[in-house]
């Protein structure tokens, strides 16, 4: 349903509207709960994007929406654009070797740096550019905790009580390694807002004394999958609480369109007998220490096959992965038959600075894909990112066809994520990052 609080402007891509757009952004930032600093960043980001679009698609019809989320403000620009125009949406379009031709992309780069998240989606001829500004929340005060013995029977229920959610965040942060706990847990107010606002779901274990014995969260990953963090167990009886939390998650999504549950940040408490290991990403922490990330999967229904695309160079990896997982797929090989590839390639970039991680998502194919990827890798390495990942949605042949460009640039296939996109998603990782 359309958010009733969304503010919509329909205008043309023209710098003449800058002051109006700035004014709307300022008002929305204040009304939607951003602090002064974040509001200023929102104002500057929307200005940069408008300038950028005025250059990219001069005078084209444009829709600007500002929507309050549970813990953030979303700003989206919707417009129509030709494929060739979109190249400037690469975050590298104005890198170290920025030319006069590409100077327009500087606005996008600046907007990305001023926001807490920027991504670009393409829906047919329309492009949606989304900018996210998070509300500010006070940091959690660090504390020491020890696991305790539960008082009486432990029961499991949806996490809805703000006090207990905050307590759970504090306990998880105190009892688990930093890499296993979502960044948001360090600002528990944000988690409360996300859960009560419906952006995040949670399960909580409570004993008869009302003590928080465990916590687990999950959120949508695609139309048919969710990803979870946890289970976080705060009692000495870890196995039973972990199992109860996991079963609560499974029960909560059992009669929904969700086909797959995938781990985002799993803990050692996750009951292994009911999940399948997809693989382990050899990630590095921001300080360079190894931080391997296992990825777990649980199918939610009978999987009777999908059709996926692959490039011959990745076919071996995929066939082995599917065989190991007993997943039946019609694997169609993409091939280049001499046809011209129109336009230039575009990759959206999503950053997780706290995990030193950058994720590239293909938006458009192009003959220059290899060079574009090279630019991304160089830029991200120079920015200090230790983990550079690419997600290929195997529902799309053109994404599978990017394999040679990815392999040439040092990416290696790591893990297959069933149902994580429109079809399965293949995760590739830059070996040198």
């Amino acid at each position: 349903m359309t958010n009733q609080r969304t503010i919509t402007l329909r205008l043309h891509a023209d710098t003449a509207w800058i002051r109006m757009v700035q004014g709307v952004a300022e008002q929305c930032g204040t009304v939607f709960g951003l602090d002064h600093g974040k509001t200023l960043r929102l104002i500057m980001a929307v200005e940069e994007i408008l300038v950028y679009l005025a250059d990219l698609t001069p005078q084209a019809p444009l829709e600007l929406n500002l929507t309050p989320g549970a813990s953030h403000v979303d700003t989206t620009f919707s417009f129509a654009a030709r494929d060739a125009d979109l190249w400037a949406m690469n975050i590298t379009a104005c890198g170290a070797d920025c030319t006069e031709e590409n100077i327009q992309a500087m606005g996008l780069l600046l907007a990305a740096r001023m926001s807490d998240g920027l991504d670009v989606r393409r829906d047919g001829a329309n492009v949606i550019l989304r900018l996210r500004l998070d509300r500010s929340y006070p940091d959690l005060e660090t504390r020491q905790s020890e696991r305790f013995a539960p008082r009486g029977e432990v029961l499991f229920q949806p996490a809805l009580d703000p006090s207990r959610i905050k307590e759970a965040c504090a306990l998880a942060t105190a009892l688990y390694p930093e890499a296993a706990v979502p960044q948001a847990f360090r600002t528990p107010g944000k988690v409360v807002d996300q859960i009560l606002g419906g952006e995040l779901s949670g399960a909580m274990a409570l004993d008869q004394g009302g003590n928080v014995c465990g916590f687990m969260t999950w959120s949508p990953r695609s139309a048919t999958s969710v990803s979870f963090c946890g289970p976080y167990v705060f009692t000495s009886k870890r196995t039973a609480v972990a199992r109860g939390l996991t079963e609560h998650l499974v029960g909560a999504v059992a009669r929904t369109p969700v086909s797959a549950i995938l781990s985002q940040l799993p803990t050692e408490d996750l009951p292994r007998e009911d999940v399948e290991l997809l693989g382990t990403l050899p990630l590095l922490a921001a300080d360079g220490t190894p931080c391997p990330m296992p990825i777990w999967y649980r199918g939610m229904r009978e999987d009777n096959g999908l059709a996926v695309w692959t490039h011959p160079e990745l076919e071996g990896f995929l066939r082995t992965a599917y065989e190991q997982l007993f997943l039946m797929r019609d694997i169609h090989a993409v091939s280049h038959q001499g046809e011209q590839v129109a336009g230039r390639s575009v990759f959206a970039t999503s950053f997780q600075p706290e995990a030193s991680q950058a994720l590239l998502i293909p938006m458009l194919d192009g003959a220059d894909a290899s060079g574009t990827l090279h630019g991304h890798v160089q830029l991200l390495l120079s920015e200090g990112y230790r983990n550079i990942l690419v997600h290929l949605d195997l529902a799309h042949g053109w994404q599978a066809a990017l394999a040679p460009a990815l392999l040439k640039n040092g990416f290696q296939p790591r893990v297959l994520l069933p149902h994580a996109g429109q079809a399965d998603v293949l995760v590739l990782q830059h070996a040198g990052s």
Partner: protein
Amino acid sequence: MLDLERLVPAHVRSFEVYTPSKPDQELMRLFRVDHLHRLNNNENPLGPPPEAARIVQGFPPRLTPIYPSGDAYALRQILAGRFAKSPDQFLVGNGSCEVISSVIKAFCAEGDNIVTADRTFAVYEWVAKFSGIEARLTPLKDFGFDPDAMLAARDERTKIVFVCNPNNPTGTWWDTATLRRFLDTVDSRQIVVLDEAYFEFVDQIGFPDGMKLLEQYPNLVVFRTFSKMYALAALRIGYLCSSPAVVDIIRRTHVVYSVNSLAQQAAAAAMENDGPFIAATRAMVAAGKEKVLTLCGELGLTCQCGEGNFVMIRVPTSDTLLYRKLMAKGVMIRTMTGFRFPGWIRVSLAREDVMEEFCRAMLGVLRP
């Protein structure tokens, strides 16, 4: 521009689309097997009864341009004779899903609710939800319907209580005394639907016959089907029986002409001489249960083995992974995660050779 968000009610937008399984040939191709034993839908592989089979084989093409009897007139006469009722007490539908829908439409309006169990045949809950009606679900107790919890879940807006006896998928059942106590407490304040889809499989002293309770409880509605014991699932035909007044109300919301002529004739024929067929099927089911229980003992697995032509097994792995591994051996079972029994599978009981193959497949997967 088509604005589906404005046109479609919220309860329909949020509803999960049911995705039926693919045809056998397609599944066999995908899983690279040359055969497929379907042990997922509680079908009766012995059927249909010979009398019904003859009807199916001999259905004359000259009848295909002619509409069926819109209210299954002849079949209702036969049902009336069989159960010593009036034909007006029967309503025939396109499978039980249609009669469930008719009952809910007949009695429930916006703001009303139904009560049933959280781990039972999902269609009561589904139909209620996509009709915009609240489904109140009470937990099972020891794998069975909990009468006290169901009674407590009612309020002044509760219109229907659904009881599945024996319960699918757990096979648990209420005896006559339990059912009578429940009906006495309800005291006609709600419609009580007693779904006896698996009635013909039960040969237990103390198992209630809903048909015999109808005269005393005018709010009772009994569901039966030709899909399970009578093996006419492909023809989609089931029926309900209740007091004439209740059936008269339900008939108002029921689609006429929804049951085709072939189904009506085959169903009538199936009841002509069903004794030997039912006995043979019960023997097959009993032998199948023995095999599964032996397998579970060998593998150290918990088995929930009640009435009906199915059993549930607790498996030491994800049920959905086990499904894929068994499919790769040509055996199709039902995963129970969707029934909110994660880590369980349900297995339909079939002929001896098929059950042996199922056991071999389970041993191969769980004890390679």
